[in-house]
Amino acid sequence: MLELNELRYSVAGLSWYFEHQASTHSVNAILGKSGSGKSTLLNLIAGFLQPQSGDILWHGQSLLKLPPDQRPVTSLFQHHNLFPHLTVEQNVGLGLHPGLKLNPGERQKLLNVLDQVGLPDQSHKRPAELSGGEQQRVALARCLLRQRPILILDEPFSALDADTRRGMIELTLDVIEQYQPCVFMVTHDVRDADAMGADMLEIRENRLFHVN
């Protein structure tokens, strides 16, 4: 279970207060106007921001002291998920070792995962040679490979056209099915959240609410 305990964060005269509990295998969609603090909440969970007070607990253990790469979290962003100068294989491989030192077993796992997201023979291409949807699949492959129990989706479908978006949502559902992470997704399209079968949350007046 992921618990947000009286979490307070303020910056530039704005302050947020988050209180929430999400079960281990739940899919949670966070809705809200732009600037309402959706990304702020994800950045707090991922560890890119530090709260002023309160705590974030995963299975009862506080995450606050851990740097982003040691938290049980992996993220899929809207942009800049891939390094433009590295190949698909290297970009995914960074999810296993930050210095790209992979043993044969890990390399095999990597290729299997690329297979699963439908990019079997693309491992030596660079991001610029792929379409926007394919780039997001590569990033998703890395999330699948890392198997971190909390999966953060920061508007990963927003930059895609309608067809690609549908395919991406299906693939993401597959991935969620496979390893059952606790998902937090930010979106401003309720239909995306619906398609993912998510519990709806909304940030209003700097607080988190359930939407029925």
Binding site: G47, F48, H80, G95, P98, G99, L100
Partner: protein
């Protein structure tokens, strides 16, 4: 093992403090004994200070006064054959070593140069290059093309809609200039003025070669004379203190003005160049302006090329003095370039962490400013400090190689930091969350992310730093001796003893060496076009 983020910055800062702070301390300790009122009432110091300021002000005024019409003329003619080559030519004066350009200027405007031969043939009294004339001419040669490029960029940023609107409203050129072009030029003028003034104020090689005796001497050259000819350490320290104060004032002033620039430049360079059909009279005036400016930049370069091809070529190029100087120049240039880039990367890796990850923009910029130390502590002031510091301990001239490398790397540092800052911050901002979530840091980050993404700008920065150092006449004039000479010093001495043919070949070799260093460092370090 994880190195903390501040380790590289602290190391660079420590080195900069050792190289610049200790000499500064030595000056400060010595300065206590100076009788300030008597120094300031001394006629010589007064004249030197006055001349430094006056020549810098006149140089700035002339450079900008000429650059504005040239930039306007170039922006009114957005497409004529060779325009981009011309603009490249205008940036050449930044890379070309000062002494080499001075040689070209002497070949054209010197006593027996083309220009005076031409004047004599018209029975006009020949012009003397030495003294204020020559200093101004050389300063304009270096700064006018540079200012033109900066101003042209501002003009090219004017949105096309403004021109279309002006045409619909039937505005005459005078109002177009007042309402469209002048507002685009104005924001960059204060910063540009401050920069050119500072460059001319601390200019050394030009004043040393073209200045004529005590009447046309700047503070930098006066420090040099006090140290090398009069062996008057007291005088040197006094002048160094005056220079230090004036440079600090200048630096504060230009930092304030530069901030003003950043906040006022609104439009990007992506917009289309001006579309406006000038009248025929305007076109002719414009073409004439461009031609004169181009001749002004091109003639000294041509003069140099013609002079190099002479009968002394083989003798000079096989001369052991020349060969030794080539070796010394290469070593100094390459080592100071690497030191300079290493210092810049050390500072920037830490400031990037402060600015991008910790969002302490201001603290990061303060740390970065350490790279500008040479602007407050110009080479001759730094040299004075090094003299004071090392003289009791060792024979200063036997340390020439090390001292020249130290000064040259600090001289190149502001340029190197400025060149690497933007690509480093941009790459950092784009990938910061990803880097954090994957835990790519320290050595892994450098090897897998930074090096491949930054090797091109690093190659360029190394190339520029090496070229600057190879062409340096300041540090080597101060610390060079019969035992240690670089090509610029050899060239200066050959010019000074009127062995002009030998000097011409030496200038040619130095220019070729600079071009070689520039191209090869950029290629080897920067890699091929692939990013």
């Amino acid at each position: 093992m994880r190195l903390p983020w501040w380790s590289t910055g602290s190391l660079a800062l420590l080195l900069i403090l050792l190289l610049a702070g200790l000499p500064l301390l030595a000056i400060a300790l010595e300065a206590g004994q100076i009788n300030l009122p008597s120094v300031l009432s001394n006629a010589y110091t007064q004249r030197v200070i006055r001349f430094s300021i006056v020549q810098a002000a006149l140089s700035t005024l002339l450079s900008l006064g000429l650059a504005i019409p040239v930039a306007l003329a170039l922006s009114h003619e957005p497409r004529f054959p060779g325009r981009s080559t011309l603009i490249t030519l205008y940036s050449l004066s930044l890379v070309i070593p000062t002494v080499v350009a001075i040689f070209g200027i002497v070949a054209v405007y010197g006593r027996t140069g083309w220009f005076n031969t031409f004047l004599t043939s018209l029975s006009i009294e020949p012009l003397s290059l030495y003294g204020l004339n020559g200093i101004l001419l050389a300063h304009v040669f270096f700064n006018m093309p540079f200012a033109t490029r900066v101003l042209l960029q501002s003009l090219d940023g004017i949105p096309g809609e403004q021109w279309r609107l002006a045409t619909q409203l039937g505005m005459p050129y005078r109002s177009r200039f007042r309402h469209i072009e002048w507002p685009a030029l104005r924001p960059s003028l204060p910063g540009l003025t401050a920069l050119i003034f500072a460059l001319c104020f601390t200019s050394f090689a030009i004043v040393m070669t073209l200045g004529g005796g005590p009447r046309a001497t700047t503070i930098e050259v006066a420090i040099y004379q006090a140290l090398r000819f009069d062996f008057d350490l007291n005088m040197a320290v006094t002048l160094a203190c005056i220079q230090l104060v004036l440079c600090t004032v200048l630096m504060v002033f230009s930092t304030l003005l530069a901030r003003h620039i950043d906040s006022t430049i609104g439009f990007s360079g992506l917009l289309k160049p001006v579309r406006w059909r000038p009248t025929n009279t305007h076109r002719w005036i414009g073409i004439l302006t461009i031609s004169i400016a181009t001749m002004f930049v091109l003639l000294p370069l041509l003069g140099l090329v013609f002079a190099t091809a002479n009968t002394k070529f083989l003798t000079v190029i096989t001369d052991s003095l020349t060969l030794l100087a080539i070796g010394n120049t290469l070593v100094t240039a390459v080592v100071s370039a690497f030191l300079s880039v290493a210092l810049a990367l050390g500072l920037l890796i830490s400031t990037r962490h402060l600015r991008v990850r910790l969002h302490h923009e201001r603290a990061g910029i303060w740390l970065q400013l350490a790279g500008n130390i040479i602007l407050v502590l110009p080479p001759l002031v730094l040299g004075t400090g090094l003299f004071l510091l090392l003289q009791p301990l060792a024979d200063v001239f036997s340390l020439a190689l090390l001292l020249v490398i130290a000064i040259n790397s600090l001289t190149a540092l502001p340029f190197v930091v400025r060149m690497l800052e933007a690509p480093m911050m941009q790459a950092g901002r784009q990938h910061d969350r990803l880097l954090q979530s994957l835990g790519i840091d320290a050595w892994h980050r450098w090897r897998i992310i930074d090096w491949p993404l930054l090797r091109r700008p690093i190659g360029l920065a190394l190339a520029v730093a090496a070229t600057l150092s190879a062409g340096d006449l300041t540090a080597i004039a101060l610390f060079g001796s019969e035992r240690f000479k670089t090509l610029p010093l050899l060239l200066y001495q050959r010019m000074g003893s009127y062995r002009l043919d030998e000097a011409a070949v030496t200038a040619g070799i130095l220019l070729a060496l600079c071009l070689f260093l520039f191209a090869s460092l950029q290629r080897i370090i920067g890699g091929r076009a692939h990013a």
